[in-house]
Symmetry: C2
């Protein structure tokens, strides 16, 4: 039996674009837009620019009917006089003309969350680019959307314009997915690529990225890995059929990566990328955002600048790669409007690829049980016996060293010792680092990067 | 207004997986399977292996109820006794228990086409991996599916397991797509990669690929570019909103690429790949399958072995890349079952992303008007004046030469002359080749490869 995706008692099928004579033009899908920053402006520009094509593809027009933002007077380069201006953003949830609310305000709680809850409660569809809100409240919102029988969609929340939510939710839906990982933060990848290309250190490149508008004035959500972790927790839920579990993501950012680390990695045949990794296994759900060494024969090694890329491994499809622009008004607007087209077509179902009640609450995996290779870098005093101390700590913890390079004095006065380990349990590496924690020879924090693959 | 995707008078909404209490388990989606080759067997294995997960994701079970193939007695490694065996494949179209027919027979006409027409006429859904049939009859079948209000889906027809039909049809749906191109034939890419890695010539590598089962006994559909052209014509229709126009694809294969060409390309910083290119522009629809030189900084240069990859350029999303396994029973089955999950969810609409009546019949673009750079290789007699003759032909046609390399005698006795042109109109290159056609100094056909980008 071929079903309707929605129960016809709740939704008027006359709005549909099929009828007994085949296809017909139906009523417009009417959109209320909350937030008129660069992405909100991009959505309006996109709907204006590609209007006819979108109508052909969606089977009916998609029309913004109402907008709300903080400042009515700001010039956003688009004509807003066509739309109802709503001062109180929360009122969009029950706007009489709207079928769907698009939320581009941001923030995990506050006005965005209130709007989401109220919109779903009012029986309207909800489209958002808000990864923080989904990471923290995705399960609740999915339950509310299903209870109301309305769409909740968020392609723009992960990897900008790349249709990776759809790729996992639908394209790879036939597969048990064992792992999903990728470059999920364009700011970090821009900074790491630039450090690599120009041999410059983190702080300097960050300052330049901020001046150019590629990094926020307060960049910590990006460079400390929180933004990537929000996205990873959403991808993992869809890939593995688990409840979003942002609190279980182990997070490190790129703040402590030196130009020297990137140079050492390059000498060994690797590039450094901030990678979010999710794995589903017999020991639970593993989620980590961490700078990784990527071998040159892996496609992620060739992802430069602010580009994002996501890899998923399925038991029948093998390895899939999705790559494209991870941010920016155009790509993000493209993803938002793709969601609206799906809704206009009536092609939507449960937000996380299966009913919320069917998502498993999976226990977090113990990272110590994982096996892999690692890069360790110490900055040490230039004195006798330091190398022996590090080597002994490795030996005592059972870490087998594949290569060790010691370079002369750094600008800061210390000496760099970079180690690549053989494959072994991560617990051993953690123990070795613990042993060296009290050492008077080691300056500052050692840097640990995992090697992908 | 949020619609149903189907008119409720025609389809019983009780089959749907939404109801007023939220999600419920609904009736199974019942599948009749035509063709039990490696892919057909893969579909059965996949549905068995991932049964529970697929039920959770699809909202209901997907069950094979009937199968048909030429030889009932052949051991396919899967238990077929559970299914109705139907001797007459055509009878699957009206099998009493089936909601959807999956066609894995192949061939542009004959039994596959009959089955497609009859299935749609009987008001059942149709899923196929048959690119040849879609390239030749896709428009007719899309019209029939829409007329009947039933799904026609074919993710497996292009690029195996990669969800690129979905990526264009839905993921990039908000964009005007200016071009779509990619590596669409795994056999050719396997052969070219192996020629590149091992410095061996085409015939030798092809024979080995055939022995290993990576190439068909009759490989012409693959190596002469016809298979890639089938796929390109389907991608172009979805990307550009045009009617599939296989007859307008200009096709060259890889039969005449020498190891020496690959070596020359490598020396210049390029790799050789068979690329299908589609472009929509003011001058019409351009479609070409041709061996190309790919610069090393382009992701397609790093696609090796039987992997496929597709790039699309949208006016808001920018450049999207989809990459993965382009063939094989597992990946192809993954795509077939993804289509079935979409149908089970009720998430489907017009086959080519918009109603068939809305697809434009676009005139083919004149390739001569295109501008680009090209690689030309001549095998010539080792005698005085040959180089002057070639250079004069280029000059007279207005082709500007960027580099020219002449290498000593080949195994066949001739001398290789490889030329890379500056950017210019393709017409000029064609004219230069035309001028040299009668030359007694040039041995055999010159090889022309376009340079991507």
């Amino acid at each position: 039996m071929i079903p309707n995706s929605l129960d016809s008692d709740r939704f008027d099928p006359l709005g549909g674009h099929f009828n007994q004579q085949g296809w017909k033009m139906a009523d417009a899908l009417r959109v209320a837009l909350a937030g008129l920053g660069t992405v909100g402006g991009g959505v309006i520009r996109l709907l204006d620019t590609n209007r006819d094509l979108i109508t052909r593809r969606a089977g009916r027009p998609i029309e913004v009917v109402a907008v709300s933002a903080r400042d009515r007077t700001k010039d956003r380069g688009v004509d807003l006089s066509r739309f109802d201006w709503v001062d109180d953003t929360a009122a969009l949830a029950t706007h009489e003309k709207a079928d769907v609310v698009v939320e581009l305000i941001g923030g995990s709680d506050g006005p965005a969350l209130t709007l989401a809850r109220n919109t779903l409660a009012a029986g309207r569809g909800f489209v958002t680019a808000n990864k923080a809100m989904l990471a923290h409240h995705g399960l609740e919102l999915a339950q509310k959307a299903e209870g109301a029988g309305v769409p909740l969609k968020f392609e723009a929340a992960v990897a900008g314009g790349i249709p990776v939510i759809k790729g996992l939710r639908e394209g790879a839906a036939a597969n048990v997915i064992s792992n999903v990982y990728g470059i999920l933060n364009g700011t970090c990848n821009f900074i790491l690529s630039k450090m690599e290309a120009e041999g410059r250190d983190f702080a300097e490149v960050l300052a330049e990225a901020q001046a150019l508008g590629y990094a926020e004035a307060d960049p910590s959500f990006d460079i400390d890995g929180v933004d990537a972790a929000h996205k990873l927790s959403i991808l993992a839920a869809i890939a593995f059929g688990t409840q979003p579990a942002f609190d279980d993501v182990a997070i490190s950012g790129i703040r402590h990566v030196l130009a020297a680390d990137i140079a050492e990695a390059a000498a060994l045949g690797y590039r450094v990328r901030l990678v979010g990794v999710g794995e589903a296994g017999p020991h639970g759900l593993f989620q980590r955002v961490h700078p990784h060494l990527i071998p040159l024969d892996h496609p992620l090694a060739h992802v430069t600048g602010s580009t994002n890329a996501v890899v998923a491994q399925g038991n029948f499809v093998g390895r899939l790669l999705f790559q494209g622009a991870g941010a920016g008004d155009g790509p993000t607007a493209s993803a938002v409007v793709a969601d609206l087209i799906d809704i206009a077509r009536g092609e939507f179902g449960p937000a996380f690829a299966m009913p919320a009640a069917s998502l498993v609450q999976e226990k977090p995996a113990d990272a110590g049980e994982r096996r892999g290779r690692a890069y360790l870098r110490f900055t040490v005093e230039d004195k006798v016996g330091v190398l022996a101390e590090i080597a002994a700590a490795m030996r005592d913890a059972g870490v087998s060293i594949e290569s060790l390079i010691q370079r002369g004095a750094t600008a800061g006065g210390g000496v760099l010792v970079a180690i690549v380990t053989h494959e072994g349990p991560e617990r051993a590496v953690a123990q070795a680092l613990e042993r060296l924690r009290g050492s008077s020879s080691v300056i500052g924090q050692p840097l640990l990067m995992h090697i992908l693959g």
